[in-house]
Structure formats: structure tokens, C-alpha cells
Amino acid sequence: MATNRVQQWATFARTWWIYDAKWQCPRQSAPVLIKYLQGKHKPIYHPNSDIGDHVVVINTKHIAMEGEYWRTWKFSHHTGYPGGFSQTRAYDAHDADPTMVMKKFVYSSMKGTLFRRLCMQRLHLFPEEELPEDILRNVSSQIQQVMPVPKRLDEFSAEERKAFPQLFEWPKDYIMETGQKKSTEES
């Protein structure tokens, strides 16, 4: 058949996926991303064949870590020389390079085979929403986010907040201790 040749091109072509990392946990996103980087989402997958896709991750600056992990999660490094061991906290690494935390999690969640470096070359990380034109042109599919993005209270308009159903009203003489600083207008 004349179309078999073209079908084969289409089968082995590399797709470009985009992933919006806004308010997403990097620990939970990494196993999803490596599935596409290694080609495990294709029925022709084989561990020895290099058939992974490209993944473009945007908004890596706005990722969300669970619990206390910004403070307690540490990335270890050893230079190879005596006394060359060092550890960096996640927030320090994030300050130095906003794409670093995502990159480290994706790298460490892959098996240490020779294909790991090749897969990492196909991962394109961007701290904000802006993308270069030549990369954006290739993108054809989107990876579903691992967690829903909640809407913050200050993103709702005043009308929406007013229309929200209220079960009861606080008594006027009830003093609420929120633990927050009082604004200057009240004092």
C-alpha cells in the first residue's frame, strides 16, 4: 500500500506536549511527565528503543510543594572531592533557578540508564508562560494536570463573594481570633 510509508513516519514522529505546572506538585507531576519522555504512552514502547516525545513545561516558577517540603526537602550534591558534600533546601534551589526543582524531580524519578540523559534533553522547562516562537509552533498536544488549580479568594469579584450562600451571621459582639495582624484602619 502506498500509505504504509507515511503511516510509519507518523508512528515514529515525535509529538510535542505542553504541561502547565501552575500550582502543580512536582513530585506528582514527574511520573506523569516521564511517561511521555520515555514513550511509555505508545503501544510501540520498548525499553531499548528511543521513541520518547518532547515535553514543554511552563510556569515552573509557580509550582506548589506539599506540606513543609519547601523548607524540609533537600537536594544533595557531591563534587567528588573530600568534603565536597552539600545540601540545598528546595526554596533556595528555587530562588537560584526557578526550573531547577522540576528538573531534579523529573531526573530522579527516571531509572539511571543511558536513555535518561536523552530523555532529559527532550524536556523543555520555562519559568513563566512565555515561550519562544519556534517551540510553541511545534506543540500539538496537552498533558492533563495532576491536580485541580484552586481559585484564590482575592480572585473572586466582590459580587461573587457577596452572592456566596452564608449559613449564619456572626453576632456583632463576637470577637474572632484569627492570629493575623490587625490592619491599620481598625487600630
Binding site: 511509555k40 504512552h41 505508545k42 503501544p43 510501540i44 514502547y45 520498548h46 525499553p47
Partner: protein, 162 residues
């Protein structure tokens, strides 16, 4: 000594000294002629290499099947995910609709005949929903898929009308 045949006569130790060792080495070389270094020439090294190779081949006779099954599972998971299904419910739906295809045939279909595989997922989805297991799927099945159970239901319905 009585030699009933010519080959036995020729192998007799008394006639040709050391001939037994010669045949032993020949038997080893049948396994080790393609090895590298001294394993192909020296008997004491070659026999060790040969025994290790035989041990590995015994071990891998079992491991090969396990690896192959893992690869089939991986591919089927990917193929089923393309149609919003997971592998386990998909296989369950096929088994319940009496479609006796194994993992190898299903992966071959997924690679070389994707439309056939898609219709298999449709049948599986329909069957699962009939069994009340549609919670295992992410989307509802197509309505134009006919299974054995729906045929039986219709025939019972038309018989009752008559």
C-alpha cells in the same frame, strides 16, 4: 575385550591413548567455539565458561517469559489509555464477552491495526457497563455496540411480544 562395532573399536583406550580426552574437548568446543579469549581454547577455562552459560540459559528461560509479559502489559496499558481505559478493566471486559485474545495478539492489534483495537475497547466498555462495572471506566460506552447479552435481551423481548 569385545568390540561390536568399528567406532567403538576406534575409541578404545588401548589402541589410541588419550582419545577419551579428545572427545571431551570436542564436546566442550561445540559450546565454546564462538567465545573470546582463552575460553575458546583452554579446556579448564572453557568448561567453566560453558557451565556458567548453561546456568544463565536455564535461569533466563523463566525470566524471558516474565520480561515479555511485562512488556506486553506496558504496551497494552499505553494502548488502552489512548481510549480512556486501563488495562485491567479492558482485559476483564474482553474475558467477559468471550473474546479469547492473549496479550501478544492484543499488542499486535494495537500496533498494526489500531482501529480494530479501538473497536475491541468499545466492546469491552459496553460489556463492563452491562455488568454494572462502568465505574471502572472514565467515559460512558458507545450506544451502537452490540454484545451477546444485548442480543439475548432483544430476542427475549421480541419473543414476549409474540
Amino acid at each position: 575385550m569385545v568390540f561390536l562395532s568399528l567406532p567403538l573399536f576406534s575409541r578404545s583406550k588401548r589402541l589410541v591413548m588419550g582419545s577419551n580426552r579428545f572427545y571431551k574437548i570436542q564436546q566442550m568446543l561445540r559450546f565454546t567455539w564462538h567465545y573470546r579469549h582463552r575460553g575458546r581454547n583452554c579446556y579448564s577455562i572453557g568448561i567453566r565458561n560453558m557451565r556458567r552459560a548453561l546456568r544463565y540459559s536455564t535461569m533466563w528461560r523463566k525470566l524471558k517469559k516474565i520480561q515479555q509479559t511485562e512488556l506486553f502489559n506496558q504496551r497494552l496499558e499505553a494502548a488502552a489509555n489512548e481510549h480512556n481505559m486501563n488495562r485491567v478493566p479492558f482485559m476483564e471486559g474482553l474475558a467477559r464477552s468471550q473474546i479469547q485474545l492473549d496479550r501478544k495478539v492484543l499488542t499486535d492489534l494495537a500496533i498494526y491495526e489500531p482501529r480494530t483495537f479501538q473497536s475491541l475497547t468499545d466492546v469491552s466498555k459496553k460489556r463492563l457497563s452491562e455488568e454494572g462495572m462502568s465505574g471502572m471506566m472514565q467515559i460512558m460506552p458507545r450506544k451502537d455496540v452490540i454484545t451477546q447479552q444485548s442480543l439475548r435481551k432483544w430476542s427475549a423481548y421480541y419473543k414476549a411480544r409474540k
